[in-house]
């Protein structure tokens, strides 16, 4: 390895030119073949049983995500202006290619089934907007007495009515999102305010806001990193070369993705984050070594200096990179494809960063000369500080161990408080438009999120059986009655009860499930003949063997959804006795399962990679004890950062969970460089001096690395998009913890277990 690298030193221009050419090729590939994957369904593992079932159920019952448009008029909705808007907007949505005509629900499209003295009336609430006050009052009464509409399509305070437009699968685009918002804007008047909400809108806003915010923040992050890097390296050339390592490795990773035709997923945006943290580290360690060599040999030629750097640094750089890459490859165990790709391409990026560190940086020095360094005073101060620090760390090792144990215990308590959140809405500011709109609709209606409970029976006509329908009805009432978060529910029972009431002259006493299954069948036949049968097939299948029960929930937060699920599941045994099984469907539920899967995979791969790292380090250092000691910074970083998330109520979601990977990447880097340096310095035979020297060399480089990355990522705290703020916080936190863990606890362990001194004491 060293020989090859030294040979390359003779042809620095070729090395540089080749790197640039290949990077440019990858850049060009990226330009014409990169695409963002914005369809969230594509993120889901399709072969997972819960997803297979949900997808089927979505097909059976035409379950789609709906856009909700709330039409608000503070003076009430029963006037020409408001109802004209509802009608016009309904028609406009029905004509959009992304929406089926039958999938738009509003007061304009709804059927009003009412009982009369001698029969039954099926009429639209209105076709032409009423003109007289009496007609409006008549309409108002119609709505008020129809529980299938009142509180569902029209708020009970009569100031808001909603239009629900379910959109087809796989059609949601940025243009469509803009089109919806523009349409809403167009219809808005002085008196009538339109609010747009619903899952597609939240997803759309997120897809828009996150990257837009990143576009603004990333240049600042990079600028700060470059600036701090310059401040530390004191050389423009070194800064540029280090940043080239990061840039090229990122280009190669994304370029390769483009070449093998894998789209960019939301989690892929984490790849550059990882590569910045890791790529900068390699550069800093190399320059740090060079710096020390120059201090000791001020007269050395550039070639000598570079050869020395390669001689001592190639192995830690390769070791750190390989272990880090293996750590990321362990993400292949995840069931979620975007995560697998994330692991694979980050690993590839880490290895290319290694390659560039060992080629471009030496080549750059050969071409541009050694960085000019002010060596004089700095030396004393820095070394003295590092020496003192190392001495104190070792002196107070019992105290630091106790503190560490205390922090870990505290963190473990914190971890127990960590909760998983698959909510999209929680990613927005509490006072953002989208959250306020959602709240507004939740205050006036059942809820903006839907849970689809799918009841499944083996026997046909099960859901014409009064016993089964009564249990369904009881469950609906319990869930909605016991949980404030569950606004309302809707299924076949509501049709049956409505028909029973209507056929008994609108007598409220008949708002129940009748005893006779034939009567239920006849009611349903009647509904089919008089209402819109398409509506029935949204809640029950042709054979009446499967039922879709909709629950409207006022939050998409996982705690809320889980509380509804557990209330529902308290009926599982009762349903089982009737031969009915429970399942779920819909995007809210899928998001919940998806988040669980990611976490499960993440924790699995964290454990797996930890084991791999311990073994690899053990093999590399030819001492299994060192494997365990080297894993300490990772373990501390992971435990404490999860603990802090628990204490500070940062929920685990796809982004925050992935960040624990950085603990592995950075933790290994720090540990390996530190141990390798400790090993080199141990030749002095003095344990304390070894620790001190290592602190002055590796400790310093580690500190610099941490400072550069932390400074850069702290910029994200000023982001307007909360997930980006969390990202900034957690990356900084991980860097800081890895640093502290390495230079305190790990050093103490090296010292305590006489690493590299045991044999010498015995042997010499």
């Amino acid at each position: 390895m060293e020989k090859i690298l030294n040979k390359l030193l003779k042809v620095p221009y070729i090395v540089m030119a080749l790197s640039i050419v290949i990077s440019v090729i990858f850049l060009m590939k990226m330009m014409d073949n990169t695409r963002m994957e914005t369809n969230l369904d594509k993120y889901m593992p399709e072969e997972h049983p819960a997803f297979i079932y949900s997808d089927q159920a979505e097909e059976w019952f035409n379950i789609k995500d709906g856009i909700i448009i709330a039409v608000e008029n503070k003076k009430g909705i029963y006037n020409k202006e408001t109802l004209d808007i509802v009608k016009a907007l309904t028609k406009r949505f029905q004509k959009m290619p992304e929406i089926e005509k039958a999938d738009v629900t509003s007061l304009y499209t709804a059927d009003n089934i009412v009982g009369t003295e001698d029969g039954m009336d099926v009429k639209a609430f209105y076709k032409k907007t009423p003109k007289t006050a009496e007609k409006f009052e008549e309409l108002r009464q119609k709505v008020k007495t129809n529980e299938m509409v009142y509180g569902r399509l029209v708020s009970t305070d009569e100031s808001v009515t909603i239009i629900i437009a379910a959109i087809n699968k796989d059609v949601f685009t940025q243009e469509f999102y803009n089109h919806i918002l523009e349409t809403a804007d167009e219809f808005q008047t002085e008196n009538v305010i339109l609010h747009v909400a619903g899952r597609p809108i939240i997803e759309g806003t997120m897809a828009l806001l996150g990257p837009a915010d990143m576009k603004k923040m990333v240049p600042i992050v990079l600028l700060i990193i470059v600036f701090v890097l310059y401040f530390i390296l004191r050389s423009i050339r070194s800064t540029i070369l280090t940043m080239l390592v990061v840039l090229f490795s990122t280009l190669w990773a994304f370029g390769l993705m483009a070449v093998v035709n894998i789209p960019i997923y939301a989690v892929s945006t984490m790849i550059p984050v990882m590569l910045i943290a890791i790529g900068v580290a390699d550069g800093i360690h190399l320059y740090s070594h060079l710096h020390l060599f120059m201090m000791e040999n001020p007269a050395a030629k550039k070639k000598e200096a570079v050869m020395d750097m390669i001689k001592y640094m190639w192995s830690p750089v390769v070791m750190t990179s390989i272990t880090t890459a293996v750590g990321f490859v362990s993400l292949l165990t995840s069931q979620v494809y975007p995560i697998k790709y994330f692991g694979l391409f980050t690993a590839f990026g880490v290895l290319t960063a290694m390659l560039f560190s060992l080629t471009i940086i030496p080549a750059g020095i050969m071409i541009f000369g050694l960085p000019k360094m002010k060596i004089k005073k700095e030396k004393e101060n820095n070394h003295q500080f590092a020496f003192n620090f190392a001495e104190k760390v070792i002196k107070y090792r019992v105290a630091s161990m106790i503190i560490t144990v205390a922090i870990i215990v505290l963190s473990i308590v914190g971890i127990s408080k960590v909760w998983i959140n698959s909510s999209f809405l929680d990613k927005f500011e509490k006072d953002s438009d989208i959250v306020l709109t959602d709240q507004f609709i939740n205050e006036h209606f059942g809820g903006t999120s839907t849970i689809n409970l799918i009841l499944d029976s083996d026997s046909n006509d099960a859901f014409k059986n009064p016993e089964v329908l009564r249990l369904v009805d009881k469950m609906q009432q319990d869930v909605v009655g016991n949980l404030a978060i569950a606004g309302n529910s809707f299924t076949l029972t509501d049709y049956v009860k409505r028909m029973n009431k209507v056929m008994n002259a609108d007598d409220e006493a008949y708002n129940t499930i009748p005893d006779d299954s034939d009567l239920i069948a006849q009611y349903l036949l009647l509904y089919e003949m008089s209402g819109d049968p398409e509506n029935l097939w949204k809640v029950v299948d042709y054979d009446y063997a499967k039922l879709n029960v909709n629950f409207q929930v006022k939050s998409d937060n996982s705690k809320a959804i889980n509380s509804v699920l557990s209330e529902i599941e308290s009926f599982e045994d009762d349903f089982a006795k009737l031969g009915v099984k429970m399942n779920y469907a819909g995007s809210g539920y899928k998001a919940l399962i998806f988040t669980d899967l990611i976490l499960e995979g993440q924790i699995m791969s964290l454990v797996l990679s930890l084991i791999i790292v311990i073994v690899l380090l053990g093999v590399m250092f030819k001492n299994i004890k060192l494997g365990f000691i080297g894993a300490v910074p990772i373990i501390i970083t992971a435990i404490v950062s999860f603990g802090i998330m628990g204490w500070f109520d940062i929920a685990l979601n796809t982004t925050t969970a992935l960040l624990s990977s950085i603990a592995i990447g950075i933790g290994i880097d720090y540990a390996v460089h530190f141990i390798e340096q400790y090993k080199l310095n141990s030749t002095s035979g003095n344990k304390l001096l070894t620790a001190q020297k290592t602190m002055a060399h590796s400790g310093r480089a580690i500190l610099f690395n941490a400072v550069v990355v932390i400074a850069g990522f702290l910029v994200l705290l000023f982001s307007v998009f909360p997930p980006n703020r969390e990202l900034g916080t957690l990356v900084s936190l991980n860097m800081f913890l890895s640093f502290v863990g390495t230079v305190t606890i790990m050093l103490n362990l090296l010292y305590r277990f006489n690493i590299y001194f045991e044999k010498k004491n015995k042997g010499e």
Partner: protein
């Protein structure tokens, strides 16, 4: 007497057929009126089997015994469900009026409730019993409600047809247009394409079979396919009897409660 009537009807058909053959300029309206006025007897008894097939290929089958009679200004129809068992003897009666703008009268009898109820519905575009047919599709629509144009003449299934485009005069009507293949000498609409408000093909009606019963051409097997929803309805009439002299008293609420 009856024979005379049939004879005169046959004669009328013959005359109509002749005029259209000989006249160079038969209009679209005339063609459609011929179809509308094609005699189908004064009364009919039949067993209707309606099969609904949804997009995932699931089927629901209903069998209905139906009686209908034309009383000139009023057409009365009564239907008894035979299958499925849980709706057996549920009956449904409609009185349709020729008078323009007058809504049908409809009654339903639910045996499990033992009550006859009047149903009023304000929409002709409602689907008939959850099928792909609207009441209008079943033949109630008067020719004067649309503007008809003969697009061309062509053969379909070996029959010479007029291809007539019909555009509703009411702009808010559920279809933007329909195109019908009408057999020249028989005045049977053999195939009909329905276009939705956006002028996209919505449904296709095909006549699979028509029979000559007592000299009347009766369509006995049709299929309506909704191409947008991939949903299909098959209607088959069996045991068709024409002009058996169903009495006026057959079409009352009392009969509805009696069952078959």
């Amino acid at each position: 007497m009856k024979n005379l009537k049939i004879l005169s009807i046959t004669l009328i058909i013959f005359l109509f057929a002749n005029t259209s053959i000989f006249s160079q300029s038969v209009t679209g309206l005339q063609v459609v009126e011929n179809v509308y006025n094609r005699p189908v007897g004064e009364d009919m008894t039949a067993d209707l089997t309606m099969t609904l097939i949804n997009s995932s290929g699931k089927e629901r089958v209903r069998t209905i015994k139906q009686f209908s009679r034309d009383f000139g200004e009023i057409e009365k129809k009564i239907m008894f469900f035979v299958k499925p068992a849980d709706v057996k003897n549920t009956s449904f009666m409609t009185w349709g009026y020729d008078e323009e703008g007058k809504d049908d009268d409809q009654w339903i009898y639910l045996p499990a409730l033992k009550k006859t109820k009047r149903i009023s519905s304000d929409s002709k575009s409602d689907y008939f019993m959850g099928s792909d047919f609207t009441y209008d599709d079943l033949g109630d629509r008067h020719p004067t409600q649309d503007t008809h144009t003969i697009l061309r003449e062509e053969e379909l299934n070996g029959e010479a047809c007029y291809v007539v485009e019909s555009i509703p005069k009411d702009e808010d009507y559920m279809y933007s247009k329909t195109i019908t293949w009408i057999i020249k000498d028989k005045w049977i609409g053999l195939k009909k394409d329905f276009y939705d408000e956006d002028e996209d093909l919505l449904k296709t009606l095909t006549v699979e079979k028509y029979e000559d019963i007592k000299g009347f051409l009766i369509i006995s097997h049709t299929e309506m396919k909704n191409v947008q929803k991939n949903h299909k309805t098959i209607m088959e009439l069996k045991n068709i009897e024409i002009n058996t002299g169903i009495s006026k008293s057959k079409f009352t609420e009392r009969i509805m409660t009696r069952g078959i």
